[in-house]
């Protein structure tokens, strides 16, 4: 850790400063361990450029979307892989997840109404995923084309990318 006696903003030396990554894409098979690997790869690309809170939100959002595909998408074993595209823009992350699974049921794309706090024997053991996605994603958009689902969203950054 560099010492910082003046309380001046810490700055990386120019030689260590990295430009924001170009838009990139990660491909993965439809299983939970592949999701873990893909999340690690994606986070490693963006973590130096966005606030830690936003990195945590991105990881959660993508985990929920990808795990839904793994668990409910009925992706055929020989199908083309799932792809995640990530574009780090000045004030937001723009992402698109594309998968060859069955069409997404339309009702999942409508944000659920707020529910009363859960309690007692009525506690749900599942169904947390889509409410989280609707809570965290902005401009959630769904298209079905050529046998593939395309789900895109934005994640506004709580401040600009750290290299600006």
């Amino acid at each position: 850790m560099p010492s910082n006696p003046e309380g001046a903003p810490l700055q990386c030396p120019a030689s260590h400063r990295r430009a924001a990554p170009q838009p990139f894409q990660v491909s993965l098979a439809a299983d939970h361990l592949a999701v873990r690997d893909a999340l690690r790869t994606i986070l490693a690309q963006v973590v130096a450029h966005i606030p830690a809170d936003d990195a945590g939100t991105l990881e959660l959002l993508l985990a929920e979307i990808l795990n839904n595909i793994v668990e409910h998408g009925s992706v055929p074993a020989q199908a083309a892989p799932i792809t995640v595209s990530v574009d780090l823009q000045k004030h937001a992350l723009a992402c698109e997840v594309c998968d060859p699974g069955i069409a997404l049921p339309e009702h999942l794309l409508v944000a659920p109404p707020p529910t009363a706090a859960p309690y007692g024997d009525h506690l749900p053991e599942g169904g947390f995923g889509w409410p989280l996605i609707h809570d965290l994603a902005h401009n959630l958009t769904y298209r079905r084309a050529a046998g593939r689902n395309r789900l895109s969203f934005n994640l506004p950054l709580t401040r600009g990318p750290s290299h600006h």
Partner: protein, 117 residues
């Protein structure tokens, strides 16, 4: 799935030494917890300080473990990280679980320090 346990009278401490409680391990976590949360432990303290990532499947497993306990058993969460706390808050499960912000808080609440000194 690495669960280390220590017990004292009616309290069972479970240290979850995994960085992720997610869809890849949720089922194994649930099964292992059901095996170790024996009926004579009235208080299950789950040390989550090592967990940096919780998803909806991991959360579902936590709820399932809690629901599998008997009426006189409780599951309490100790030292959840920032990201774990965020998931608990967004899903309103922070109102369902007893949550101790730090391990010291949990030990104090469990009467652990008093017994040991």
């Amino acid at each position: 799935m690495d669960l280390k346990t220590e017990s004292h009278e009616n309290t069972l401490w479970v240290h979850l030494d995994e960085p992720r409680l997610d869809a890849a391990v949720a089922l194994r976590f649930k099964d292992n917890m059901r095996d170790i949360c024996l009926p004579h432990y009235h208080r299950i303290m789950l040390d989550m300080s090592a967990v940096t990532f919780l998803d909806s499947s991991g959360l579902g497993a936590l709820v399932a473990v809690m629901k599998s306990l008997s009426k006189d058993q409780t599951l309490e969460l100790a030292a959840p990280s920032f990201n774990v706390s965020k998931v608990l808050r967004l899903t309103r499960m922070d109102t369902v679980f007893t949550i101790h912000a730090t391990l010291a808080d949990a030990r104090a609440a469990g009467g652990f320090d008093a017994v040991q000194s």
